[in-house]
């Protein structure tokens, strides 16, 4: 049996009294796309920060690419991360930003230059690569961020809302890129509100609500579950399943007498 690309056991993060993530268990197979869904403030970004070693857990453990998240130095070679706000300097050009990331990743200059050119071309940024990022649209900044996240060909890439702010054409390129990453055996941990993207691409889906993983399965399993719960013969989709799951959880939480 292969080692999961991402494994979390009881991963928990509290900020004082606020329970951001609670007892999260995950096992994501290598080379798959994992859609991580949840309402705003559910704990998606905190989970990503935990799994990328940017935040220290209150309790629990996790490994990414077989490396403990407590060992950042070993972990960094295996992961790529696109935060919700693209990590770019407005004073640099797109190409300079990517060269900077390539140097931070200690990539050989020639190989880095070729890879940057290839990815810029793929994302339709080649013509704007030598303009300053301060003049870019949000979608262009996001593209630079995604390229930076995969530049060093990591085993697992964490993408926080990669399609937000993108026009339909760019969003399609992003979807194709994510699919392509998975084809190259890269594991993609994808947080997004755009449910059709997850429905199209994800092999597995996790739904987080109020810090807890409330459902997990393939998109088809979750939609079947939604259909069964609704008792309807009409075909449900992932959006219906998501709304149903989070509504149920909200009602359950509201009946709970007190929080931690």
């Amino acid at each position: 049996m292969t080692e999961p690309a991402v494994r979390a056991d009881g991963l928990t993060k509290h900020y004082g009294e606020d329970r951001a993530v609670q007892d999260l268990d995950l096992a994501i197979e290598p080379g798959t796309v994992y859609g991580f869904l949840g309402p705003n403030g559910a704990g998606k970004t905190t989970t990503m920060r935990l799994l990328t070693s940017l935040t220290r857990p209150t309790a629990g453990t996790a490994t990414v690419g077989g490396v403990s998240i407590a060992d950042r130095r070993a972990l960094t070679a295996r992961i790529g991360y696109l935060p919700h706000d693209p990590p770019v300097h407005g004073e640099l050009t797109g190409r300079e930003q990517l060269q900077y990331v390539a140097r931070l990743q200690e990539l050989p200059p020639d190989a880095a230059a070729a890879r940057i050119d290839e990815l810029l071309q793929r994302f339709g940024l080649a013509g704007d690569a030598d303009r300053r990022i301060s003049g870019y649209s949000e979608g262009m900044r996001k593209k630079v961020g995604v390229i930076a996240a995969v530049l060093h060909d990591p085993e697992v890439v964490f993408l926080d809302e990669p399609t937000s702010g993108l026009d339909p054409r760019a969003a399609r390129v992003m979807r194709e890129t994510i699919a392509d990453l998975a084809d190259r055996s890269m594991t993609v941990f994808l947080s997004t509100h755009i449910l059709p993207v997850v429905e199209d691409l994800a092999d597995g889906v996790g739904v987080i609500h109020d810090g807890r993983l409330v459902a997990e399965g393939s998109p088809a399993e979750l939609t079947r579950r939604a259909e069964a719960a609704a008792g309807s013969e009409d075909a449900a989709d992932l959006e219906t399943a998501f709304i149903q799951l989070t509504t149920e959880e909200t009602e359950r939480v509201s009946e709970r007498p007190a929080r931690v």
Binding site: T52, R72, T76, D85, P86, P87, L104, E106, P109
Partner: protein, 579 residues
């Protein structure tokens, strides 16, 4: 027809007579109501925001302190003038006319400054989708007037209170306050639109947009130099007669018309009220036009439209050379990358380095001495080294985490080690500041007639001390980072170090540099002892020998802190977690 007799559709709610009545209200009253609400909202926002803006709050407090310091001598002076006037000496209050006229000019300049700055912008751009620019600018001009009142009215009130007490009559105070309000309102109505017009021009000009930070620094330095060197006096001597020959001088008559025996012209006083009555509506009407000019514009991109399409190599011709040079002198690619990015960002957004120029204000007396005597003091090279060290520390190293800004998560999850990030940041600062400091220090030493040995020492010190200071800054900055960039104007932010980091680094640096200078130069011991004797409020003053002992303790401690600082900063980056 009574209300009961009217159809329901007319008497209910906003319909019928009520609606017509409201529609008939003068448009100006409705606009003033909107302006009052916009002003109240802006003032409330300022009151909540300013306490969180350290630098803004500090400069505001310094400004108010400057006003407070002036008040006691102003009161004593005007009270004395009032007493002299009571004795029949009308010449004792002749300055009042100049003060009113120059005060009007000063308030025009202040209004323009507010118009150019963040007070010349609506709280939210969406406000312009709700109300026309003409209405919004009324509210913002009122806020500008409130700022002016905060600084201008207390001195006016205190001055005329002194005059009233000296003269034994409350009338001068009444006249002074009326004139103060007239000056404030008319000058703001003139100055604020001027500021908006300047803002609009800058936004439309790629050249001005690019040169804006440098122009601002140049103007500030020119202003403070004029103040400290007394050059402002001859400027007033030129401006004075011109201003006194204009209707602006009538504000002096307005201020003094209620002062018995001052000889003010009632006709000129009435003229001042008429001038204010004309300028306020005219200025505000012009404000609507200039506000539209400033706000309804697509700002020029900082890079410049023509630059945006050019390859970066063409714009920054040294780019590839810089990268090759950094790659040649650094052991890791990440170190070269951090250094190169720091230099590029500073070159393209030099406003990030604005605060490094602040200590230059303290050097203005030195420049004045240079200009007046033509002689360079012997300690100047040491001052240059100390300043260079401070600049090298406070540019990027003192906020080694914060300068990465939005890229910090990418840095933390990259292969770059903390030591590479720290070393790259230090290299970025020292690569430029160290050689410049060394050259300036040697140049100053030559001008001061120092020996060849002393020149060599100060040149080497320029390189070593600057680099060491940059390293020292990293540890302090890593322990007390400021991760959120600070607003330094309406449109720009900068990743400035925290107050704690500034204070700790400045203290350590002063201890180190003064300690080293004390040990190297016997004259420094004497100079410090002399200064302490003059300014230390305690009875105890250290002797030169005690200073030497103190320096022998302080210097090793600061030297020890330098490698520790590097290790602390590197470890902090390696272990840093986002909250």
């Amino acid at each position: 027809m009574s209300a009961n007799d009217r159809p329901a559709s007319e008497s209910a709610g906003d319909g019928g007579e009520g609606r017509r009545h409201r529609q008939d209200r003068p448009a100006i009253a409705a606009r003033l109501t909107v302006a009052r609400r916009i002003a109240a909202s802006a003032i409330r926002r300022n009151a909540r925001k300013i306490p969180e803006q350290d630098v803004y709050l500090a400069s505001l407090l310094v400004g108010m302190l400057g006003v407070l310091v002036v008040l006691p001598p102003l009161f004593l002076g005007t009270r004395e003038a009032g007493a002299a006037l009571a004795d029949g000496d009308a010449s004792a209050v002749s300055l009042a006319w100049h003060a009113a006229a120059l005060g009007w000019l000063g308030m025009v300049a202040y209004g323009a400054l507010l118009g150019v700055g963040s007070e010349g912008e609506p709280d939210q751009p969406a406000l312009l989708a709700v109300r026309p620019a003409e209405d919004v600018v009324l509210g913002l001009a009122a806020v500008a007037g409130c700022w002016g009142a905060l600084f201008a009215l207390p001195p006016v009130a205190v001055a005329y209170a002194g005059l009233s007490i000296g003269l034994g009559s409350p009338l001068p105070l009444a006249g002074g306050l009326v004139a103060g309000l007239a000056v404030l309102a008319s000058a703001t109505a003139v100055g604020y639109p001027i500021g908006l017009a300047i803002k609009g021009s800058v936004r439309r000009s790629p050249w001005l947009e690019r040169a804006k930070p440098l122009l601002a620094v140049g103007l500030a330095l020119a202003y403070f130099t004029a103040i400290f060197t007394g050059a402002i006096g001859p400027l007033f001597a030129v401006l004075g007669p011109a201003v006194m020959a204009s209707p602006v001088a009538w504000f002096g008559d307005l201020a003094m018309v209620t002062t018995p025996g001052a000889g003010a012209s009632p006709l000129a006083a009435a003229g001042a009220l008429a001038v204010a009555g004309l300028l306020v509506p005219a200025g505000l009407a012009l404000g609507g036009r200039t506000a539209s000019y400033a706000w309804y514009v697509d700002p020029v991109q900082p890079a410049g439209a023509e630059e945006a399409a050019e390859p970066s190599e063409d714009r920054l011709a040294v780019g590839p050379t810089l990268d090759r040079a950094l790659a040649a002198v650094t052991p890791t690619r990440s170190m070269a990358g951090v250094a190169g990015v720091a230099l590029r960002r500073a070159y393209r957004e030099p406003i990030q380095l604005l605060f490094a120029a602040v200590p230059l204000l303290g050097a203005i007396p030195l420049f004045e001495q240079l200009l007046s005597t033509g002689a360079v003091p012997w300690w100047t090279p040491w001052a240059v080294v100390a300043y260079g060290a401070w600049v090298a520390g406070t540019t990027f190293p003192l906020n080694v985490l914060g300068v990465q800004g939005a890229v910090l998560p990418a840095v933390l999850v990259s292969r770059a080690r903390g030591r590479d990030v720290v070393a790259g940041t230090v290299l970025g600062a020292a690569a430029v500041v160290a050689p410049v400091t060394a050259l300036l220090a040697v140049g100053a030493g030559m001008a001061a007639g120092r020996s060849t040995t002393a020149l060599a020492a100060v040149g080497i010190a320029g390189l070593v001390v600057v680099t060491a200071a940059a390293v020292l800054a990293t540890g302090i900055g890593a322990l007390a980072p400021r991760l959120e960039p600070l607003e330094i104007s309406a449109e720009r932010t900068a990743p400035l170090p925290s107050k704690t980091a500034y204070a700790a680094f400045s203290t350590a640096l002063i201890a180190g540099v003064l300690g080293a200078a004390t040990l190297a130069e016997p004259r420094v011991r004497l100079l410090i002892a002399l200064l302490l004797e003059r300014y230390l409020p305690t009875g105890w003053v250290p002797t030169p020998a005690q200073l030497e002992t103190g320096a022998q303790l302080a210097v090793p401690l600061v030297l020890l802190a330098i490698p520790i600082s590097f290790v602390v900063a590197a470890g902090r980056i390696d272990r840093y977690r986002l909250s």
